[in-house]
Symmetry: C3
Subunit: 346 residues, 3 copies
């Protein structure tokens, strides 16, 4: 494809910031400082990588004010080079356009309302009564259950499944293998066997949510599972029934969130972390990777619980004592008493 | 859809228990105490939520004997309100019915036997020699490999894959993205490269098993992988080759079970737990979330191994000592000797 | 299917080693010592299972030199019985053959080049400009994005997704639900909302790579994500953008590898382990299951960081002290000083 080039002057007219050096410099792609070549613009988000500015072959760079003198290259100076780069990259790399229309191999249920500008690809199945808004792109092999509702400009990559009655807002992106609205894990023991508890809630996904590949979001048991606007979910995340995730929270890969947990807004959860059921996490909480949250968190802050790794022999030798920590604590207390006794005698 | 209403008298005639209050009260849906409205029946499984009985707008409630006086609402009194609710909800929320027949876009292999009452949806692929029992529902985009066997009333949600030769019993439910019978992870190193070990066993799934969304159950390497009757698997679980899971065991999301592990009957395994290969776990064992089981468990009981989380600064400060626990233990022992020496001198 | 039988003499002529006992003994399948019957050959990889040789009903066995006298059965003697077994099993269990050709329900984009010997199954979607090499098998429901390239003899099981522009080498195997090239998790906060950072790199998969069921490998943000030749990935693994995995590294199920991590060659990573972003792991490193690698590893070796499990009551009692380890260390130091003082006084 022929790439469109933009002058730095055009870019700052669009996104703000100012140009130092030749404002007529043209760029048509973003790149890292290391790999950038002619017509490419790189960015510096951290002053400690300034040294890479010396050797870059980029045509231009995006820098923050403190780094403005660190290069003689044509540059855009702005407050937040990373988000500036995000916006510029979106301009230079527009999403693939999919023609409006329904592929003949798609199977559309009775009463489904599909906006004229939507793209329904090959081998898609759309259930009865489904509503699909303007500009939606439903790629090959997706399956949308009866009476589900998709807002506008929502994009499902190949083989996404949305179960019946679930709702996705506008500008949602769901990557391949994501499953929205499967039954939550609700079982009751009776007479030596598990009874299934029908999962009659829905999964409600707000606007501007991104759902990673093979991530699963279960429908509610009675009430709904809710993912608020602007939430970003990485791959292979499991969100159980009746979870609520507050707006603009970002969750890294492989996290598991158990049933009825309520996560605040603007939280950040690291990879492979876990949150037990029925807990409540305050707004703005940050959870480290590999950390299990086993009780509610009421205060904003960073929380961790990771076993530090070491060479196996060292780990073995040290970890063996974990089963005797309580005894160690008792022995220390005893030693303290002995010392007090000895000192008292003098 | 028009919901069917049942009188409390009809319900206890069907499921047992007794009615207090107006047995002619009609209900057509279950709900939580908080959200229930007219025509809805809620339930109280834990006396500590009794307070919610005061403010509920439910038409009726299900309670256990000790809570019978805690409300004046029409109520069903029974031994186990949770399993009672499960059965009542199943009555009020029957599974969606799918018409018998094979969608014209489905591709059916030579020699496949599909029971007349089975539903085969759009874009399904069924391999040669497959057998599908009465009442099965195979939703859109599923793929069933050659010579696989499905019992009766088994339900595969969209995009489930069953590999060749695998067997699913009766009343199995598999949610979207589940993969049954992919190759186990068998490799042998030779001359600097891994050789693949053909995985020639099968995955055998018993009756009444539920398999969550994006859960994977590998086929056996030589012998079979076996999931016994009534096992309930949540989402995103990985079950490796030659694992055997005993009847009625329930496993929460994101658990990984390594090759040739044998899990007993009626076990409960918490989310993101792990079980190493070739281990044996007794019947009735409960494993906490985030716990790695690294050796066999011969006794029924509850087992845990979770790093307790705290604020990051506190965690950092404390966790640093884990690499020196052995030295700490040595120093305590030394102190004890010193004290003995000092005391001995007196 | 009629199985082909081979004489032990034919087998050693093909794969090396020597026969003890009747070299005319015929076998047509591999099996475990426990389950082997007539016409089946078992193997002994570990002398500690020698006892099973006594009771096996196998027609023949594969053993290493030290075990040659442990049975009177016809036997193949070789250096590495496990890899010998792998090769013999591959001979006895050839991959299913799929006829060349494109199923009429497959949808093929403009300009796609599909080698004549490739098999394209039902309900497959292949984007514009895709290239598929000789001998490839693309099973039902796979989706291959525009301009992706697949080498020769690569095999995608049902419902694999390869995003646009990604490259898979020769002899790659990808199991059902695997997703190659979905967007990495790149977001930048601005004005209270996350901006998406376009993911414009690719995922490049080398030759002889195996990708497990529901494993996800994200495309690069700017540069590419790279999986080198001979890497073996189990199920449910998450590989983030710009990760590089060195040749012949093997990774067990449920592992998460964060963005821009670089893993060496011939590493072995245990199940549910994690590797944080931007780290570097040396060649030949072995990481235990459930271990989070939180800083770079420069030396070959085995690394672990696992919380040892115990009965829940014991765990609770001991784990409570983890939040006070630093205080415990301080108290020990204080005790040591006191002892020194007491000893000094004498």
């Amino acid at each position: 494809m022929d790439r469109i080039a933009y002058r730095l002057a055009d870019i700052v007219a669009r996104f703000g910031g100012r140009v130092e050096g030749d404002a007529g410099t043209e760029v048509n792609q973003v790149a890292t400082l290391d790999s950038a070549g002619p017509l490419q613009i790189a960015f510096l988000t951290n002053s400690k990588y300034r040294k890479q500015l010396e050797s870059t072959n980029a045509a231009a760079v995006i820098v923050a004010e403190p780094d403005v003198a660190a290069t003689k290259l044509p540059r855009i100076v702005c407050d937040n080079p990373y988000s500036y780069f995000a916006k510029l990259s979106a301009l230079l790399n527009p999403l693939a356009v999919f023609a409006a229309g329904i592929h003949p191999s798609a199977v559309i249920g009775a009463g489904a309302k599909i906006a004229p500008s939507a793209h329904i690809a090959a081998h898609v199945t759309i259930g009865e009564g489904v509503s699909i808004g303007e500009g939606c792109v439903i790629m090959s092999g997706c399956s949308i259950g009866a009476n589900a509702v998709l807002g506008e400009n929502t994009r499902l990559y190949p083989r996404v499944v949305v179960y019946h009655d679930c709702v996705l807002g506008n500008n949602v992106i769901a990557h391949s293998g994501a499953v929205v609205g499967a039954d939550g894990f609700g079982i009751a023991m009776e007479a030596g066997a598990w009874l299934k508890i029908p999962q009659i809630g829905r999964a409600l996904i707000g606007n501007d949510v991104e759902i990673g590949a093979n991530t699963t979001i279960d429908r509610g048991a009675l009430d709904d599972t809710v993912i608020e606007d602007g939430v970003k979910l990485d791959n292979q995340i499991q969100i159980a029934h009746n979870v609520r995730i507050g707006a603009h929270t970002a969750i890294a890969g492989c996290v598991g969130i158990a049933g009825s947990a309520t996560i605040g807004r603007y939280c950040r959860i690291g990879g492979s972390a876990g949150i037990l059921g029925h807990l409540s996490i305050a707004d703005g909480v940050e959870i480290s990777s590999f950390t299990l949250i086993s009780k509610s968190i009421r205060e904003k802050g960073v929380y961790s619980g990771i076993y530090p790794f070491s060479e196996k022999d060292s780990w073995l030798k040290n970890a063996a004592h974990l089963r005797h920590l309580d005894e160690m604590a008792t022995r220390i207390k005893l030693l303290e008493k002995e010392i007090e006794l000895i000192k008292g005698r003098d």
